[in-house]
Every structure is written in C-alpha cells, then in structure tokens.
C-alpha cells in the first residue's frame, strides 16, 4: 500500500507541476459558469437559465472534453517511462506491476477528479446562490460524480493504449482515434442504424448498444432526469427506455474497472 501511495503522490505532484490541475479546473470552471450564464443566449436572453438547460449543455460539452483531457493526461504514462528507461528501473525495485499501475491511476485519476469537482463545483455553488434551490446541488452532485467516473474510465482506457504500444507517438495517435470513436463516431453510427434501417433497432436494443460506450452512459445519467425538450438526437429516444440511475452508475463503474483490469493483465504480459 505504501508503494502505491508513493507512486500516486509522485503522479499527483506531476499533475500539479505540469499545470494540468490548474488548466483543467479553469477550463471546466469557465465552461460551466459561462454556460450557466449564457446558455440561453441562443433564445435571445441572458442571465441564469433553467437548471435542466444548463445541465444539458454542460453534459453535451463535457462528454467531448473529459475523455479528451483524460486521454491527453495519461496516454504516455507507461510508454513514456518505457522510452526513457525508468519503467525498467522501477520494475527492479520492490514494486509490483499492479502497484505501479494502481499508483499511477490514483495519482492521475486524482487530478481529473479534483479538477472536475472544483471546476464544475464552482458553477454549482453559483447556481445554488442564484436560484436558492436544493435541487441544484442534487443534480450537480450527480453530474460531477458521473463526470469523474467518465474521466477515470478514459484514464483506464488511456493506460490500455499506453501499455499496448511501444512508441509514444503511436500512443498519441491511438488516443486520438479512441477519442474520435467514442465521442463522435459511435453516436453517428447509432443514428445511422436508427434512421437508415427500418425497424433495425428497438428502443431496448438502442439502450443496450449505448452501454458499450462510457460517454453515452454519462449522457444517459445526466439527461434522463431532465425535460426532454432540452434533449435531442439519439438520446431523446433512448431516454424513454432508459435504465435506472443505479444501473447506469454500475455500468459506468464497470467501465472504469474493466479497462483497468485488462490493463493490469496486459502489463503483466508485457515484454520489457
């Protein structure tokens, strides 16, 4: 355990030193505060909009940003150390591969989690004081918790990439492709299935397909409880047949644990 914490502490410090924590927090804070105030600009008015509009806009932005940030933060985690030779050195220490992986995950995951909490928490507090509604805190708690899980999930996926390739530049390429597939292409494919093929997909079938993408689960968690007028696209259909929040969260947690387990497995098989 001590070894895990030593590694986690080092990775967290790296995140502070490289200004990751500050940058991510600022991006999230500006986005969320901006959307809170100007979310209704399209409809011709400024000022605080309804809670559901705000969360809907936040969720549709976060679903692109968080995976990208998590992948950027972690894609070179292992392949970078392999290239500089420190990975081999670390493994000659009394430190197991699982300990190293978990340590890195706790450290880098901590950066993502803290930045999400601070960045989006800022607008939660702002909205709470403006609206004086307890519902704000509850909705935002749900939003932030699922956003953190989304971040952790893509951190684990980034480790999978980082452990499977042997060059940093390749890892960067794969990270980009992964982001594109999960954040953009997956939904387009679903839409194509829905529209292009008559009776090709039932609502049930669509929801089942959506749990194959952590980004879509994140959307489902956050949009399911909102007025459907704020939600459009594939989601609006899926939401009607949606799973319970508890089930969605379990699937999202599985999307953290499964890639992490698989990454440990790959790491153990990895030739050094």
């Amino acid at each position: 355990m001590k070894q895990i914490l030593t590694v986690a502490n080092k990775e967290f410090q790296d995140g502070l030193r490289n200004r990751w924590l500050v940058s991510i927090t600022i991006i999230f804070a500006i986005l969320s505060i901006g959307l809170t105030y100007f979310g209704a600009a399209a409809s011709g008015s400024l000022g605080i909009t309804s809670l559901s509009t705000t969360v809907a806009s936040l969720a549709s932005l976060a679903v692109f940003l968080i995976p990208l940030i998590a992948l950027l933060l972690s894609y070179d985690s292992f392949v970078g150390e392999q290239e500089s030779g420190t990975l081999l050195l670390l493994l000659t220490y009394p430190l197991s591969k699982t300990q190293l992986l978990l340590g890195k995950f706790i450290g880098q995951g901590g950066i993502i989690a803290l930045a999400t909490l601070l960045g989006f928490g800022a607008s939660a507090i702002l909205l709470y004081f403006q609206l004086g509604d307890n519902g704000v805190l509850k909705t935002f708690a749900l939003f932030i918790a699922s956003a953190i899980l989304l971040g952790l999930s893509f951190t684990a996926i980034a480790y999978l990439i980082s452990l499977s390739v042997s060059e940093k530049s390749k890892a960067a390429g794969f990270a980009l492709i992964t982001w594109f597939l999960f954040a953009l292409a997956f939904d387009l494919a679903l839409l194509a299935l829905l529209v292009g093929i008559d009776n090709g997909l039932t609502q049930q079938g669509l929801t089942q397909l959506m749990i194959l993408n952590p980004a879509d689960i994140f959307r489902l968690v956050n949009l399911a409880g909102l007025d459907s007028s704020d939600v459009n696209g594939v989601l609006a259909i899926a939401i009607n047949a949606s799973l319970s929040q508890g089930q969605l969260f379990s699937i999202l947690i599985a999307w953290v644990i499964l890639p992490l387990t698989l990454a440990t497995f790959i790491f153990k098989k990895k030739k050094l």
Partner: protein, 316 residues
C-alpha cells in the same frame, strides 16, 4: 550466506526468433567484481535483466541470494539489489533531489528519512550542489551520477551497472571506481558492464566476455591472458640498433610498433638479456591490455566460425 551470491546454471533466453543468450554458466561470490564485456547486442543487458528478475529465463536456473529472482519469494531481496540501466533519462521536470527521494521511498525508506538519505547520496556522488535544479538542466555526467546515486540506495549487496562510466569525465570516472572499490571492501558484489575497456582492469576480479549470447571466456585477467598467450610489448631505449644485431632478440622485433613483442613465457628471458646491455637507459614493459584480450577472444570466435583461416596465438 554460504555459496555464491549469484549463480547461473545453463541459462538461456530466447525471444521469438532470436536467441539472446544460450547456455550461460556463471557464478559471482560475495565481494567480487565481475566485468561483463561484449559488443552491442551480445546479451549483456539480457543477462542483467535475468539476474534482476525482470524477465524469466527460457531454460536453465538462476539463483540470486538463494532464490529465483523472478519469484515472489525474492521480492524483499530487491531492496538489496542496485541497478543502473543503460541510457536512463530520469524525470526531466523533477529536481535531482526529488528524483532520488522518490526512488529512496520506493526502496522502502520512510518519508522523513528518505530525503535526508537522498541528500547524503547526492553528496557522495558529487551532485549535491545541483540537487535543487531540474534534471533537464543536468549535463550527461551529472545524470549518470544521479543514476549511480540511485543504484547505491540502501547499501545493496549486489550492484548491476550497465555502462556506468559513459559520459563521465576522467576525474569522475576515477571517483566512480574508488566508490566501487570501497563497496567491494564492504562485501558488495558488482557486475560491471562496459564498453570503455581501459581503466576497468584494475577494478575487476574476473571478466566474462560475451558474443552473440554465448560466453566466449571467463576468468581472472591473468588467467585469460595466459590462455590467450598474448605477447608482452617491451620497448627498450638507449640500445641504438643493438637489438637488431642480436639474432635472438631480432626474432621478436616488430617494425611497425618499433618494439619487441614477446610471448608471456619468454618475457623474463628477454628482460634479463636486455638488462645485460650496459647502454640500456630505460625499459617499458606492457602486458596485454584488457582491450587486446577482448579482441583476441572475439577474433578467435569469428575464426572458429570460418574454419579455413588459422588461429594465431601470438600476433598483433
């Protein structure tokens, strides 16, 4: 501990198509310094990785301090092993002290004592003046010293050093060998892997020469020198051509290097003969250097592969 600290018994390691090592037998006793020599890709690093337990052998047995290094039981022994990899570049954005503190903690030191210990190690290798600077500002020599400090953490019983003197200036190299001698006297066993041959010989007890994954020769330098029967270079001065007139000495004379190349067993006879000349003012005797021994065994290996050519024992 009884018996050797490290023993390799018919060890081989092969990757898919490549045999990185084939049937290596070797032992290393406590307090012994072994020099590991070989060209690039000869299997030196593979051998070190096997001893470290980072990879497992395809065949044969390895024992380090009584156990297999890749087993779970050998886990705690890793605190007593120091390793300096070749071409390691430490976390550039951290300071030297931060890097070393991190590694010290991973070797099992508690948070408080680790920093103090890291400082003392940095002082020992001579980078304490730069410990608050980021590693990316370090020169190659300073990085190498930092790597050495890292290998010295926890007073290891076994040290594996891959190219430790690369990038070190002559003064730092001398410092390094002093440290090796010191560790050796404390009972540390060292495996030293090096391309830079001059300067190593005084500090190693035995040498192991590897080529394409096979052991070409192993033993003390004197033993290897004898076996190779390499010539001793003798350069007398003040004789002004008398050497050439002496039929016996003339046989050993080498025109290109302008000295006498004498087989080891004839060395004393020739020396006595030279000393009998009254006008002799100085005499230089140079036994075969490690470099020549190394080259001898390498060419021997190549000649064995092509049986047409003959093996020359004494020669240039």
């Amino acid at each position: 501990m009884n018996g050797p600290l490290v023993s390799l018994n018919d060890v081989g390691k092969s990757y898919r198509q490549l045999d990185a090592l084939t049937s290596v037998n070797m032992t290393l006793n406590q307090g012994e310094v072994l020099g590991l020599f070989g060209h690039n890709g000869a299997g030196k690093t593979t051998m070190m990785k096997l001893i470290l337990g980072v990879i497992s052998p395809s065949q044969g047995q390895i024992k380090v301090m009584g156990g297999a290094p890749d087993s779970k039981e050998a886990w705690h022994l890793r605190e007593k092993i120091g390793y300096l990899p070749e071409n390691v570049s430490f976390y550039e954005q951290l300071t030297g002290l931060e890097v070393l503190t991190y590694f010290t903690k991973l070797k099992g030191f508690s948070g408080k004592e680790s920093k103090k210990y890291a400082v003392s190690l940095l002082e020992q290798v001579g980078v304490a003046h730069a410990m608050k600077r980021q590693v990316k500002t370090y020169s190659k020599g300073m990085r190498q010293r930092l790597g050495l400090a890292q290998a010295f953490i926890g007073e290891p019983k076994l040290l594996l050093l891959d190219e430790p003197t690369v990038g070190l200036d002559p003064l730092a190299t001398a410092d390094f060998y002093k440290t090796v001698d010191q560790l050796k006297s404390q009972g540390t066993s060292v495996i030293l892997c090096s391309h830079v041959l001059p300067g190593v010989e005084q500090h190693i007890d035995r040498a192991l020469i590897l080529s394409s994954g096979k052991v070409l020769a192993m033993g003390t330098l004197a033993h290897l020198r004898n076996k190779a029967n390499l010539a001793v270079a003798i350069r007398p001065s003040g004789l002004n051509g008398t050497v050439l007139e002496d039929a016996q000495l003339n046989a050993f004379f080498c025109k290109t290097s302008n000295n006498l190349l004498v087989p080891e067993n004839k060395k004393m006879t020739v020396l006595k003969q030279l000393l009998s000349y009254e006008n002799l003012i100085d005499i230089e005797v140079e036994t075969a250097s490690l470099e020549r021994i190394y080259q001898y065994y390498l060419t021997l290996d190549k000649k064995e592969l092509s049986p047409q050519s003959t093996v020359q024992g004494v020669g240039k």
